[in-house]
Symmetry: C2
Subunit: 409 residues, 2 copies
Amino acid sequence: MALIVKKFGGSSVANSERILNVARIVLESYKEGHSVVVVVSAQGDTTDELIEKAREINTKPSKREMDVLLSAGEQISMALLAMAIEKEGYPVISLTGYQAGIMTDSNYGSARIKSIDTERIFRELDKKNIVIVAGFQGWNRYEDITTLGRGGSDTTAVALAAALKADLCEIYTDVDGIYTADPKIVPDAAKLDDISYDEMLELASLGANVLHTRSVEIAKKYNVNLVVRSSFNNSPGTIIKEVGKVEKMLVRGVAKDDNVARIAVIGVEDKPGVAFKLFSLLAKENISVDLIIQSIGRNGKTDISFIISKENLDKTLEVLNSNIDVIGAEEIRHSDKYSKVSIVGAGMVNNPGVAATMFEALFDADVNIHMITTSEIKISVLVDVKDSVRAVNAIHEKFRLAELGSGGK
Amino acid sequence: MALIVKKFGGSSVANSERILNVARIVLESYKEGHSVVVVVSAQGDTTDELIEKAREINTKPSKREMDVLLSAGEQISMALLAMAIEKEGYPVISLTGYQAGIMTDSNYGSARIKSIDTERIFRELDKKNIVIVAGFQGWNRYEDITTLGRGGSDTTAVALAAALKADLCEIYTDVDGIYTADPKIVPDAAKLDDISYDEMLELASLGANVLHTRSVEIAKKYNVNLVVRSSFNNSPGTIIKEVGKVEKMLVRGVAKDDNVARIAVIGVEDKPGVAFKLFSLLAKENISVDLIIQSIGRNGKTDISFIISKENLDKTLEVLNSNIDVIGAEEIRHSDKYSKVSIVGAGMVNNPGVAATMFEALFDADVNIHMITTSEIKISVLVDVKDSVRAVNAIHEKFRLAELGSGGK
């Protein structure tokens, strides 16, 4: 019999009815004889309510206390799910991050899992207990509570699956699986039966908010069998595995990310070391950058543009403006009226025609391209945010992505 | 400088405004140079909301999971209070029961504190941190969360004060202190400046819901300097200490407890061992009894009556009826239309006149007495619940308890 880790997000446990539904899904596997470890997020709006409570008191609380506060959310949902399983008469036990042995670094608010001591979980599984673990949270060497940041429960589930050497890690969510595009934007987007870790990584980092990047990285590293599926129906979902099927189609999905801001550092000296200075300042503040473009210099001066997440805009401007002399820039400009549109596919690396096809689709749809970047399995372009939906649809149609589905959309 | 433990109940931290008020009270002591440990309960209605969430899913959840659920309440309030103190720019850290070293037995739902490892708290105090500790919760030898049951946060505060050898333990509540009677029932009830542990114990067990009995027991055992005061004003409160001042007045307070049910075990054999059998059955179920009266036997049979808390009524009837043959009783009767009215005072033990005065007051007020019990510092009578307010007022007036106040009511 298998050892299965099942993760349920906030919307899957949002109210008592849904919690009872999750209990049924869990018990289905347990009754088949499997060992089941369940990872839960906080209920639907709990996290937002707790953040609001904090905001009323202190707009800049310490991250340590924020983690103490937010981790109460999963403690509530894990106990409620345990009670739902008890109601059906099956043995169950809920464990906090600490009780489940999840040790992290001390980066409160976005901690990384350093190790998992599986002793307690295995002891409970040996007793035939269904084990429920609080997602999103851990414990550091000071014996303090930490949280893993956005999408942390996915990370908990995959890291647990890796540490427990689970046969399968199922991520239950409110969508049926991974689509060729966001069905809310592209009506005929098709569900994929499978996708490679690398493709999923690119899609996850592009705003296809189904799985958190960090969790896919861990799955790839430890070769965890990952499935994304719906907690509201019995659809088989999408399997994420080492190598995607070799497909006729090179492109597997298209996504847009409106959560971007463009920074332009104007008039820096066109000499070695400038970019290093600039980006090491941002790295120190943990700000990721993307789509870096340096213009062709004139009169010994050049401009450097790049993309950041919108939530980092204030911090980025603060860092750059207070170091404008260090960087030697004339001016820092910014705008958040852009969207990043990307296509992803493991097959595109050896097919230069893919980029041309994408650009043709955008030209046909009258979408202006501001910046371009390519990687082995991804091509991203920056377009005006007002054009982004049109751009995604044009690309989806051009590459005939609707045909990628297995019919069971 | 002193080490002070301050405890704030659920109504004192019910919303953000009140939490900011608690932060001010805490900082007043801290700024005077004291080391401050704060114990908090869950916010106002949080516990009730969590119980309701549980009830929607499972009306009989395990006590272990209920403790996991409820302990999230203090985790939320302690983090919020820490944020309120951070806002004022002072160093603070919040600790769960486990982090604060509070080890209990495994009696989930009403665990007893077995030991407190003060190492972490002292370490944080050495760093000049204000230390906030979650009330009501602990940790057992299985590394599981436990809760201490009703009034548990008082117990946490007093036990911490004892373990830390604190100079003072201040219980902040929504009343100014301990009164000669419930001011809601007796308009001219007077606030006492001080009261002995024993008197407080009797009052606490009588439904003067200011301090939980268990906390007073611990305070008495470890000689903790205890003060009950309001978190809403600066009134000095009531000091609870080893020996009360010798007062002119023998009686220090009058209280009623409507939360009682009377059980009558009819027609048991009038021979040794019957009462033992009966009450050991109840003790096994952790049911406390009070006011035991055995009628004078006739024909070798007798009746045994006693009082229990209303919440134990169902369980008591279940136990007695399923053991009716073991006890050898003809019938079990019960009624919950009674109230227990008591007077308390350390001086009354040597003054037989006190009981007579109490009965005279009740006679004058036309209150019928069903049962009587006396201890060294307490006299209790069982009256009809409809008479209880009249009884309390009559006694309060007869003993001129309004004169016990120090004027600063």
